[in-house]
């Protein structure tokens, strides 16, 4: 525990990020719950949910940066881990609805009744328990990462081929989840959630709780990634990024290092997805769409690779721009995303974080 925090020594940007997070955990819920609505500093529940969503994206971005920035694996499939964590949480929320669904079936979610199913599929069992759900939120993405990573890393697939594999992985999952027979609600996904742990998702205090949980998860994600990257394992990871073959000749099992870090990253992404779903109120197969995973990479590129805090900042900036653009010019977002990516690669190869570093170097 102590060494976990010791890894923050000398990490000015990271400490600033964590302090801001801490402030937000207190200030945002207070401004929403305590400050009266007509006050200028009041934060609406809508805004709080939006901010909470951004925090989940920031955690997701950090998980992408861990494998891309530090290990050199350009994962174009992290959306799959995020979505799987989200689906696990969604299944729990569906079971929490109980007999309050449209069809009033105490056991089966509405879409199953609609499909004339009589029994709950085996993989839906256990999701009425929160602890089990939390476990699955981490284990399911981890298992996928282990299986894909085990095959890919052992056969020494690297570079573009690896990116294509991860992209294919999320695409295949998207197609699978679109199918009604899969038992995840088909293209409608899972929605109409009511409670979480018995607290109504409509209530402001539950929303505030989710916001706080997201901020804490982001802080945890940052500190744990920082701990990994500062350790000798993190140095070995960087060495893999730069000279993979060389590291083998000094006795490191490159595929194992990749597998563990990739799996840990997948778990963080799953956690982000699980916190995201109750705040946006829906999870559907489009979360698996290849484009989403590419967007995540853009966040990290914008923020600055291999800095962790940069990834978080990039996720916030790009998503803020996205929220703004999709409201003002609904059709322009994809062009905007492309333009951001091109501009950043041309003018800010080290991302926004590079700007700060440059200033520090000048001093």
């Amino acid at each position: 525990m102590i060494s976990l925090f010791a890894s923050l020594r000398g990490d000015r940007a990271g400490i600033i990020l964590l302090i801001l997070l801490l402030l937000a955990t207190v200030a945002v819920p207070v401004c929403n719950l305590v400050v009266p609505e007509n006050s200028p500093v009041h934060i609406s529940t809508f805004t709080m949910a939006l901010l909470g969503k951004y925090l989940c994206y920031a955690l997701l971005a950090i998980s992408v940066d861990l494998v891309w920035g530090y290990l050199g694996i350009l994962s174009l499939g992290h959306g799959a881990f995020f979505a799987l964590g989200g689906y696990a949480m969604g299944m729990y929320l569906m079971r929490q609805i109980g007999d309050r669904g449209v069809y009033g079936n105490p056991l089966l979610p509405d879409f199953m009744v609609f499909l004339n199913w009589k029994d709950l599929p085996w993989f839906w069992h256990g999701f009425d328990m929160f602890w089990f759900t939390l476990l699955m939120v981490l284990i399911v993405p981890a298992l996928l990462a282990i299986v894909v990573g085990w095959f890919a890393f052992r056969s020494r697939v690297t570079g573009v081929y690896l990116s294509i594999i991860t992209q294919a992985m999320t695409y295949a999952l998207m197609l699978a989840f679109f199918r009604n027979e899969m038992g995840f609600g088909g293209n409608n996904g899972l929605t109409d959630f009511k409670d979480l742990l018995g607290f109504s998702l409509q209530s402001d205090s539950t929303r505030a709780g989710l916001f706080i949980a997201s901020a804490l998860a982001l802080a945890f994600g940052y500190i744990s990634c920082r701990y990994i990257t500062r350790s000798r394992l993190g140095q070995a990871a960087l060495a893999i990024r730069d000279q993979e073959a060389r590291l083998r000749f000094i006795g490191y099992r490159v595929e194992n290092i990749k597998l563990w870090i990739f799996t840990f990253s997948a778990m963080l992404a799953g956690l982000a997805g699980a916190l995201y779903v109750p705040q946006v109120g829906i999870i559907n197969p489009t979360e698996f769409s290849p484009l989403n995973s590419i967007e995540m990479v853009v966040w990290v590129a914008v923020g600055g690779r291999a800095t962790l805090y940069g990834a978080a900042v990039g996720a916030l900036l790009v998503n803020y721009a996205k929220s703004f653009l999709t409201v003002t010019f609904p059709d322009a977002w994809l062009f905007g995303l492309g333009a951001i990516f091109v501009l950043v690669t041309l003018f800010l190869p080290k991302g926004v974080a590079g700007l700060f570093k440059k200033q520090e170097a000048h001093r």
């Binding site: 350790s231 000798r232 394992l233 140095q235 070995a236 730069d242 060389r246 083998r248 000094i250 194992n256």
Partner: protein, 276 residues
């Protein structure tokens, strides 16, 4: 029907089934005084025989120089010993009991074979210190590496090696900004940190000044004895200054072996070198 005798053998608790015997290669056994056996090894790349029925034996504690014209297969030979390239046929043993052809690169490194590459390959983004730290002998499993902390002896040994390779001042310097010769030295330093039993050193003095070359020669000679060293080098003066026994590699097999003088007076060797 299982015959009663085979049934008995199945029930025999003394019996250890072959599939239950762990396939862990034994530790290095140097009882015969030979550390490396390469026998009947051939490799071809797209039909071109880079190594052709190569036989080579290295004694424990020996310093062996390998010379040979460009493309003779010297680097390929090192690739085979370190698990990078698999031979088509032949056998490679480390001591009496370790079959190198069954191990992969990290396993071979863990058994005690270290390598310096022809083109110096250090981790450019890392400092000299981190390069040495990463190479340091020890448990390199994921968990141990995550929790690793430098003990004061380990810190000392990193500084010792840095001093020895003349990079003490640059210990916090990014390896990528070192000169070519310094990178060569850093790679030798990484080898020392690994403390292997057998060192394979591919063209150590390329890009070095006369002075640096002399120091390298000195270092390599002090290493032999406790370690076995194989040096591949083109620079004949350098080879002459360190060599006791020289092997000449030509078209993938050993052409001649002996002292530097014997080799240089060998008619075949002269032809190979003059024929270039």
């Amino acid at each position: 029907m299982i015959s009663s005798s085979s049934l008995r053998s199945l029930l025999n608790r003394e019996e250890v089934f072959p599939f239950l015997v762990p396939d862990i290669p034994p530790e290095l056994d140097l009882s015969h005084g030979v550390i490396l056996y390469l026998e009947g090894i051939s490799v071809s790349f797209d039909g071109f025989k880079a190594i052709n029925d190569l036989n080579l034996y290295i004694d424990d504690g020996e310093l062996r120089c390998i010379i040979g014209p460009n493309g003779a297969g010297k680097t390929t030979m090192m690739d085979i010993i370190t698990g990078k390239t698999r031979p088509d046929i032949g056998s490679a043993w480390f001591g009496q009991g370790i079959n190198l052809l069954k191990l992969d690169e990290p396993e071979i490194a863990a058994k005690g074979i270290g390598r310096k590459f022809q083109k110096p390959t250090v981790f450019e983004e890392h400092t000299v210190h981190t390069n040495l730290e990463l190479a340091m002998a020890g448990d390199k499993s994921v968990w141990k590496t995550l929790k690793a902390k430098l003990s004061s002896e380990q810190k000392d040994s990193i500084y010792e090696v840095a001093t020895l390779i003349g990079l003490k001042e640059q210990i916090r310097t990014r390896a990528g900004s070192l000169s070519h010769g310094q990178k060569q030295w850093l790679e030798i330093g990484m080898l020392l940190m690994q403390s292997p039993k057998l060192l394979l050193i591919d063209e150590p003095v390329a890009g070095m000044t006369q002075q640096e070359m002399e120091r390298t020669a000195e270092l390599l000679t002090t290493l032999s004895g406790q370690h076995s060293v194989i040096v591949v080098e083109h620079d004949m003066d350098f080879v002459r200054s360190i060599a006791r026994k020289v092997s000449v590699l030509h078209q993938g097999s050993i052409l001649a072996e002996g002292t530097m003088d014997e080799v240089q007076n060998n008619q075949q060797v002269v032809e190979v070198y003059l024929g270039e």
